[in-house]
């Protein structure tokens, strides 16, 4: 099993979700996060106070997934989150020690297999 952590632009979230669902990847967690990836800085001005927004809103998607599905997920995210500009995001793939489904106490592969 792997944990796929993808950080993407908020404006691409709908497309990413659609692409993941199309690839049969339906178990995921989405969080609003803020981060910086070297993109063009956004400058705001409030009554004479000028501020550089170092941190930008991003979306983090966590997907616990079996090894066979990792490439499919990565491919789907890369295609759907792409705009071509700096700041499109990153995908991290991490090893996972154990996965437990709370409702049934199924573990590992059984726990990340979608319920039909």
């Amino acid at each position: 099993m792997k944990l796929v952590k993808a950080i993407v632009r908020p404006s691409t979230l709908s497309d990413v979700l659609r692409a993941l669902y199309a690839a049969d990847i339906t178990g995921l967690t989405v969080s609003n996060v803020r981060g910086h990836g070297g993109e063009v800085e956004v400058v705001g001005t409030y009554r004479g106070t000028t501020a550089k927004m170092e941190l930008q809103d991003k979306i983090m998607i966590d997907i616990g997934i079996s090894d066979d599905f990792v490439d499919i997920a990565v491919d789907a995210i890369c295609k759907s989150a792409f705009t071509g500009n700096v700041g499109d995001g990153k995908i991290f793939v991490l090893p996972v020690e154990r996965v437990i489904r709370v409702r049934t106490r199924e573990e590992d592969m059984a726990a990340v297999t979608p319920v039909r």
Binding site: R9, P10, S11, T12, S14, R34, H36, V40, E41, V42, V43, G44, T45, Y46, T49, T50, A51, K52, M53, E54, L55, T83, N85
Partner: protein, 453 residues
């Protein structure tokens, strides 16, 4: 009644058949303290409607466009308000021809403290100015989340002079629709049909938002929508009540009708919501209030309170179903300006032709006189305003698009949100991770980012 209205409204000393009331006013051409104080209050009430509209519209868009949407209303306070004094008022209420006024009162030449009816001329100008402001701001609901800001500002400025002011002249300034006897107490055709048709044309010219039809574009702050609807209703008492241009019985009638028609409209909207979707929605109630207010606007001083209840209840029904239908089409009139204001105004103007009471108008509408004449005139006024507004809105936007190099923001800017792109501000900035820039480096960086407008 109509002649009374025109006399006091136009206040240009036009010799019209005079009723008893007008003769009194003529005999004593003096300023009435009571009338003046009510119009002073009404002017402030109507002005507040534009910030109210900003909240109504601002709550309906996504958070990344909240400021831009509210700014589209607020900027009208500046642009449309100033241009009204410079030329708009003269085009609308100058003597001119049947089609438009003239430029004799440009820069408020000759607009002073002398009586216009029973209130100071200057106050009449100011009261009418608040109408010009909100009418222009209403259109913004059709172009939110995608139109560049500066072209928008130029558009509403031109629109106020080229479209609003002449139409205002047709009906209220001694123009041809007023002469024909069109009944428009506070702006069903002048304000709402006018803005509603302009909105649908603007939505067609700009095209849909890039996410329209692909994502659910949900309101980011429904409490704002309710707050805006409440402020609009509050201000509308000045809009309709003040349009009596006096603190008299007709003002009371208009104000009570402005209470009752939206109440009936909300009641019917609630039932429609319950029976078609199974739930009564907050955005639905806010919309029902606005449609009810729009519908009673042309009728406020012409129908009885019972007529107002019927009018409000009937008028909201087409708007309800147009909104349901519109969201499934490719027409991205984003905040349903046409359904609320265009359709509401059309229903209100037509129902005025049916429900106008012989107590408050010369002959009364269809249901009292049995004659279709008034209804025909109402239909003609709707058609004329729609054709003029639609045609010229299209022309202004097309020319403006060529001159400014495109009315729409870049697709990537639309994704980022118009708040940051057009204004460099966010509605809900946390301040986390924001680095203060000193004056030396700030300008360069400001110019360094892509400027949306």
């Amino acid at each position: 009644m109509l002649n009374k209205m025109l006399c006091t409204l136009a206040g240009l000393g036009l010799l019209m058949p005079l009723s008893a009331f007008a003769q009194e006013a003529e005999a004593v051409p003096a300023i009435s303290g009571a009338d003046t104080s009510w119009l002073l209050i009404s002017t402030a009430l109507v002005l507040l409607m534009t910030p109210g509209l900003a909240f109504f519209y601002g709550g309906l868009v996504r958070s990344k466009n909240a400021l831009n949407t509210m700014m589209m209303s607020f900027v009208a306070l500046g642009v449309s308000g100033t241009l009204w004094a410079i030329a708009g008022y003269s085009i609308a209420f100058g003597e001119g021809s049947a089609w438009m006024g003239d430029f004799s009162m440009s820069f408020l030449t000759g607009v002073g403290l002398d009586p216009n009816g029973s209130i100071p001329d200057l106050l009449f100008m100011g009261f009418q100015g608040t109408f010009a402001i909100i009418t222009a701001a209403l259109i913004s609901g059709a172009v939110v989340e995608r139109m560049k800001f500066i072209p928008y500002v130029i558009f509403i400025g031109l629109w106020g002079l080229i479209v609003y002011a002449p139409v205002c002249h047709w009906v209220w300034g001694g123009g041809w629709l007023g002469e024909l006897g069109a009944l428009d107490f506070a702006g069903g055709a002048v304000v709402h049909v006018n803005a509603g048709v302009a909105a649908v044309v603007a939505a067609l010219v700009l095209g849909p938002r890039k996410d329209y039809g692909r994502e659910a574009l949900l309101p980011h702050n429904v409490p704002f929508v309710l707050l805006g609807a409440g402020i609009l209703w509050f201000g509308w008492f000045g809009f309709n009540g003040g349009s009596a241009l006096a603190a008299d019985g007709i003002a009371a009638l208009a104000l009570v009708n402005t209470l009752l028609a939206p109440a009936a409209g909300v009641f019917v909207w609630t039932l429609l919501d319950q029976f078609t979707t199974g739930k009564v929605t907050a955005v639905g109630i806010a919309t029902g209030i606005v449609v009810g207010l729009v519908a009673i606007t042309p009728a406020a001083g012409f129908v009885s309170p019972g007529g107002a209840i019927i009018l409000g209840a009937v008028a909201v029904i087409p708007s309800y179903f147009i909104i349901k239908w519109r969201t499934r089409t490719s027409l991205d009139d984003s905040l349903d300006v046409f359904a609320a204001h265009g359709m509401g105004g059309i229903m209100g103007a037509l129902l005025t032709g049916m429900l106008a009471s012989p107590l408050f108008t010369e002959d009364g509408g269809l249901f009292f006189s049995g004659e279709f004449g008034q209804l025909g005139i109402q239909a003609l006024s709707i058609g004329a305003v729609a054709v003029y507004s639609g045609g010229l809105t299209f022309g202004i936007l097309k020319v403006l698009g060529m001159v400014t190099g495109g009315l729409r923001a870049e697709s990537s800017d639309e994704g980022l949100g118009m708040d940051l792109v057009a204004h460099g501000e966010e509605a809900y900035a946390t301040g986390e991770g924001a680095v203060l820039l000193n004056e030396l480096e700030a300008p360069a960086r400001v110019n360094g980012i892509k400027n949306g407008s």
